[in-house]
């Protein structure tokens, strides 16, 4: 375990050091101290490292992550794990807006609540939230899964493409072209695996599924005259 004190050496030094590690590095396990809400901590990683951050982080923590497992022992500011490619990010506290935005892959777990626009434009990431999500979550979501163990705010899944949304609590309102869908065995199985990966004890049968009605983004021949 390598300890890195951000108070002493700063975020740029940390990120540069993590970026310059060779593929076969033995320095795989890191503990980052004194994050003090600073931005862009542990961004752009490309190796299977384990990074544990001791405290609250600012904007864009773990952004663009590939292969690394990042644990934030505190609150995460806006855009945590934005555009993640693979690996995982776990937030022990709450997360601010746009968590997991545009994520292509990997797993984002938020143990507390996420705020508005969670999973906006997600493209394959899996997001599992222990608490609730704010308004306009999964806006224009294209692929991947958003699992919410609590409630979802207004306009869930507005203008959604092919992502799957699972919510256990109540949904304040569904966005344009987002509808409730039947829960099949394959969905319960998929959801069970996601909850297991997130280490949450919720039961898949307590969730409802939402997704695209596919009316907004598909060409409809009846509307040909309108174009």
């Amino acid at each position: 375990m390598i300890e890195f004190d951000l108070d002493k050496d700063g975020v740029s030094a940390l990120n540069q050091r993590l970026h310059s590690l060779p593929k076969d590095t033995n320095e795989r396990s890191w503990r980052v101290k004194n994050p003090m809400g600073q931005h862009a901590i542990a961004c752009g990683l490309t190796l299977p490292l384990i990074i544990e951050i001791e405290g609250h982080v600012g904007f864009y923590c773990g952004g663009m992550n590939k292969e690394a497992d990042i644990i934030i022992n505190g609150h995460a500011g806006p855009g945590v794990a934005e555009n993640m490619m693979s690996g995982s990010v776990r937030v022990r506290g709450n997360a601010s807006q746009s968590a997991g935005a545009t994520g292509n892959g990997g797993l984002l777990v938020i143990e507390g609540d996420a705020s508005s626009r969670c999973g906006i434009s997600m493209k394959g990431i899996d997001i599992v939230v222990g608490g609730s999500v704010g308004h306009m979550s999964a806006f224009m979501a294209q692929r991947g899964n958003l699992v919410v163990c609590g409630d979802a705010g207004e306009a869930l899944g507005d203008s959604i493409y092919e992502a799957r949304l699972y919510v256990r609590g109540k949904v304040e309102s569904l966005g344009a072209d987002c509808i409730e869908k039947e829960m099949g065995d394959e969905h319960r199985k998929e959801l069970g695996l996601l909850l297991e990966r997130a280490a949450f004890k919720a039961r898949p049968e307590d969730f409802r599924r939402y997704g695209s009605a596919r009316k907004l983004y598909n060409f409809n021949v009846d509307h040909a005259d309108q174009y």
Partner: protein, 299 residues
């Protein structure tokens, strides 16, 4: 951009440290607003029958004694002036509107930037650290303070265009964002008798809340009316005699974070400004929901 910060001390033992705790909050938001900075500090409440006015003049060499003596002569009243930087605190038993009229006639360059029994407003162009030093912010003792660091987008970088804006007795407003219907609203408010000193959008929001409160609305009612009538992006922090309130626009466009411990409540545009507070590492931290009023004290 712009950064806003607020700190309310629940634990009276911390009142002596308000300035020490609050100054780094303001300075941490320099990168969001290097053009000007301003604060409202709530301290040293004056007795009933007295009023405390925060006055500002662009000339730091302005002789405030003339104001003091002139007011006492004009109204046969008691008037005490304490000069801090290019601002002065006037405590008097004369009526506020009398004083305002007299100042406008005799010292039109003097601006009343705040009024009430506890509130003191200081604001100036320049880096937040320099503004804090000028007004000896670190030495401030009191119950709560709110502040603003400005990156000007809607109107000129001037002291008059700096936040906080007063919205009534012991009330003031700081704003992160921009309003899109402020020109029309300004004209409407002018017809209601409100007066404006700048082209600034936040001044319109402040005048709007002043007008709503004058109609007898509670602060919460006024803020909720604002959510309906103010178009644009905003996170507002409103300082009141006993605390502060936070409200965000319906899509929560502008960043905001709240943190609370047994000893204090803090709000900021970014958590960075809160991180240094004692116990922040264990604080409950969350993002305030849109069009929801969060308030502390008797706000």
């Amino acid at each position: 951009m712009c950064g806003i910060v607020g700190l309310y001390l629940k634990n009276p033992k911390l009142h002596a440290k308000l300035g020490q705790m609050f100054t780094p909050m303001l300075v941490a938001m320099t990168s969001r607003g290097p053009d000007s900075a301003g604060v409202a500090i709530y301290r040293s409440k004056v007795k009933r029958g007295l009023i405390k006015l925060s006055l500002a003049h662009d000339d730091s060499k302005f002789s405030w004694k003339a104001v003091d003596a002139g007011l006492e002569k004009a109204f046969n009243c008691d008037a005490k002036i304490k000069v801090i930087g290019n601002h002065a605190l006037l405590v008097t038993d004369a009526g506020e509107s009398q004083v305002a009229q007299w100042l406008e006639t005799h010292h039109p360059q003097v601006r009343i930037v705040g009024s009430g029994q506890a509130i003191e407003i200081f604001k100036e162009v320049g880096l937040p650290i320099d503004v804090a030093k000028k007004f000896k912010l670190e030495e401030a003792k009191g119950t709560h303070a709110i502040g603003h660091t400005r990156m000007a987008t809607e109107s000129a970088v001037t002291t008059a265009g700096s936040h906080p804006f007063a919205t009534g007795a012991d009330l003031c407003l700081v704003h992160n964002g921009s309003l899109s219907n402020h020109n029309r609203l300004r004209e409407e408010l002018k017809r209601q008798g409100l007066r404006f000193k700048t082209e600034n959008d936040t001044e319109v929001a402040a005048a709007y809340f002043t007008w709503q409160l004058r109609q007898g609305k509670s602060l919460k009612e006024a803020l909720m009316a604002g959510v309906k009538d103010l178009d644009g992006f905003y996170t507002f922090c409103v300082g009141t005699a006993d605390g502060f309130a936070v409200v965000r626009d319906p899509i929560a466009c502008k960043h905001a974070v709240l943190a609370e411990t047994d000893d204090w409540v803090a709000m900021s545009t970014e958590y960075r400004a809160i991180a240094h507070l004692p116990g922040a590492d264990k604080a409950r931290i969350w993002e305030p929901a849109p069009q929801t009023i969060y308030s502390w004290g008797k706000a």
